[in-house]
């Protein structure tokens, strides 16, 4: 795709090839900068570890030692504590490497199932709410005026609701399922993304390339998604990772408080911790059913936080490098 300009005696590249070369150089540099960021790398490794755990159950459904779903197995187990055969049905002795709960359940397989559940819940909430927040924030930031005002007030209202109180009300008072709770949480969560996107979009709106796009007659939708969105994408992506950890904290908190009997035996990290605490109430100070799921939860929130914070830092570094040119 290249040609030689004989008159000047030097090789020139066609326009598309120049762009491709520039892009590949930029991509290489981006990868180098990101690889040098220790916190981003360690965060990515930790997050990948949890994703693999979550995916394993989908690829090999029986690997946790139960033939059906883990929540059904747990409910069956807790429903008939007098029958010792249920303990065997949850796996062999190898599963007890991290100990067992007060009722004799092996912690490891239940915790792996809990990681899958927590990941699925938080991914759903973050994906749905970030998409709503992205669209609303982009339009509010770009159009400004009354639309911005209305959207800001709506998001302010949602930001003033204690989310844990809302989640508790939705899950228990209305008797909702976890899927309904995920939808309700997504609806309450979007303003967090909306505010971030709107603020960034407002600052990018003043850039020359946006003015050029407006002058050339591009439609507002095209300008927002084609020109403004790529500029806010890095910050947006970083906040998505950070919020992923916060959503997991929320669902674990609601489950730890153990409000709805219907979900008491759901394999979830907060639920498992509440089983651990209940051992105190029965007079036995066995620490592992509480501490091990707690550390697993902490590991996940630490991983996504490091990844998000590391991404932000490497993006800032790249922006700074671009400004220097």
């Amino acid at each position: 795709m290249s040609y030689t300009d004989k008159s000047e005696g030097e090789e020139r590249l066609e326009a598309p090839t120049v762009t491709m070369v520039l892009r590949s150089r930029q991509a290489t540099k981006s990868v180098k900068v990101s690889l040098a960021n220790v916190s981003a790398i360690s965060g990515a490794v930790i997050t990948a570890f949890y994703l693999v755990i979550g995916l394993l159950d989908m690829v090999f459904p029986g690997y946790l030692g139960t033939s059906g779903s883990m929540s059904n197995a747990l409910t069956a187990f807790h429903g008939s504590l007098s029958s010792p055969s249920n303990i065997v049905s949850l796996g062999g002795s190898g599963w007890y490497i991290l100990g067992g709960t007060l009722y004799g359940l092996p912690i490891l397989p239940v915790m792996l199932a809990a990681v899958k559940f927590d990941l699925a819940f938080s991914l759903f909430v973050v994906v749905v709410s970030s998409l709503i927040g992205l669209v609303v924030g982009l339009y509010a930031g770009f159009f400004g005026g009354i639309i911005d005002r209305i959207l800001t007030e709506i998001s302010n209202f949602f930001l003033q609701i204690p989310l844990i109180g809302l989640a508790i009300m939705v899950s228990y008072l209305l008797g909702f399922s976890f899927f309904d709770l995920a939808i309700a949480t997504s609806i309450a969560w979007w303003p967090i993304f909306g505010v971030i996107v709107r603020n960034k979009a407002r600052s990018v709106k003043r850039a020359t390339f946006v003015a050029s796009a407006m002058a050339s007659g591009d439609t507002p939708t095209k300008i927002t998604f084609r020109h403004i969105f790529p500029s806010i994408l890095p910050d947006f992506a970083a906040s998505v990772f950070i919020e992923l950890g916060i959503v997991v904290q929320l669902i674990a908190t609601v489950d730890f408080l153990n409000l709805d009997p219907a979900f008491r035996y759901m394999p979830e990290l907060g639920n498992m911790m509440s089983w651990g605490v209940s051992s105190t109430l029965l007079g036995t100070l066995t620490w592992w059913p509480l501490v091990i799921p707690g550390l697993f939860l902490l590991g996940f929130t630490l991983g996504v936080f490091l990844l998000g914070a590391g991404l932000k830092r490497s993006i800032r570094y790249k922006t700074w490098r671009n400004d220097q040119r």
């Binding site: 408080l257 605490v277 100070l285 707690g294």
Partner: protein, 335 residues
């Protein structure tokens, strides 16, 4: 004139927020599964509040009852406060929540200001690294996890109330706050036990609130670090600490004021969790107990009071900003 307009706007927004809160809670009340929970007491209370009429009429009855203080009764299976009116339960628990909130804010704000100084220089310093670590710890550690660990390992100490009692503790005392009532009446045993059960919730609240507020304070300081007037002040020969005190700390505090609704919401959320886990007898605990015993009115009006606290703090912070911050008052104060 601009300030008056802005104040009017704040009043209008507060009224709209109150209306939205009422509609929101009313929707919950309508959706609650009375029959499934077999709450005869609640059904009769619902009828007395006019909830057997059409939706619009019900809403007006609901609003009327909210403002006349007819908030229904707590379900009889409530372990501690069963049979009491919701208003009485809130009257008992709210002072304890406000007390915990006020003391934790009093302790948190100096921590935030001191740690915020770490961001007054562009270069990385030890103070700055420590502040960053403090924020990160607050974000990474779930509050319930720390509370659960503390509760687990301190269960057999006098720092945690182990079981709900069958009577209203300290009900006959004026403030309903054991520490203050004990001191007023010379009952030092009550005061000291009040302090003991107060310590862990306070520590949790201070750590998580200050960590959250420090994030906002930091963003205020970092934004103003790029302003030209800081360079001018330094070039005029002003000592660094005066620049920090007069410009950066004020900017950081202004940012905190700006985000008061978010700050209050987060702090009250922390409070619900801390009170529920540590059995601290505040409004968050009343909300939690109401939920687990199926006392809908108790839960809904506890959330209503939380909402009112947030709306009032948001309104007051808005007014204070309009009266003190030229940026918020549309530049009129410069004139």
């Amino acid at each position: 004139m601009k300030s008056s307009l802005n104040i009017g706007k704040r009043v209008f927004i507060a009224v709209i927020e109150l209306l939205a809160l009422l509609i929101f809670l009313y929707a919950f009340l309508l959706s609650a599964e009375y029959t499934n929970r077999s709450m005869v007491l609640l059904q009769s209370a619902g009828t007395s509040m006019g909830l057997n009429q059409n939706s619009f009429a019900q809403f007006f009855y609901f609003v009327k009852d909210v403002f006349t203080g007819n908030w229904g009764y707590v379900a009889s299976n409530y372990p501690t406060l069963g049979g009491f009116s919701v208003m009485a339960v809130i009257g008992f628990s709210l002072p304890q929540t406000i007390f915990l909130l006020a003391i934790s804010l009093l302790v948190s704000v100096p921590i935030v200001i001191l740690m915020g100084i770490g961001y007054s220089r562009r270069v990385n310093t030890t103070t700055r690294a420590a502040s960053n670590l403090y924020i990160a710890l607050g974000m990474v550690f779930p509050i319930f996890l720390v509370g659960a660990f503390l509760r687990f390992f301190l269960y057999n100490t006098s720092l945690i109330i182990s079981e709900p009692t069958k009577n209203l503790p300290y009900w006959t005392f004026p403030t309903h706050i054991p520490v203050i009532d004990g001191l007023i009446h010379g009952n030092y045993a009550m005061a000291s036990s009040g302090i003991l059960v107060f310590i862990i919730p306070l520590l949790l609240m201070v750590f998580f609130s200050s960590s959250f507020m420090l994030q906002i304070y930091r963003s205020g300081i970092l934004k103003s670090l790029n302003q030209g007037y800081l360079g001018s002040a330094s070039s005029l020969g002003l000592p660094r600490w005066i620049v920090v005190r007069n410009y950066l700390m004020i900017k950081g505090s202004s940012e905190l004021f700006r985000y008061i609704p978010t700050v209050m919401t987060s702090i009250l959320t922390f409070e619900i969790v801390v009170e529920a886990i540590m059995t601290y007898r505040g409004l968050g605990w009343a909300f939690y107990e109401s939920i687990i015993t199926g006392s809908y009115f108790g839960a809904i009006f506890a959330l209503f009071v939380f909402g009112i606290v947030i709306i009032i703090s948001s309104f007051l912070s808005g007014i204070i900003r309009i009266l003190t911050d030229p940026e918020a008052s549309g530049g009129e104060l410069y004139g």
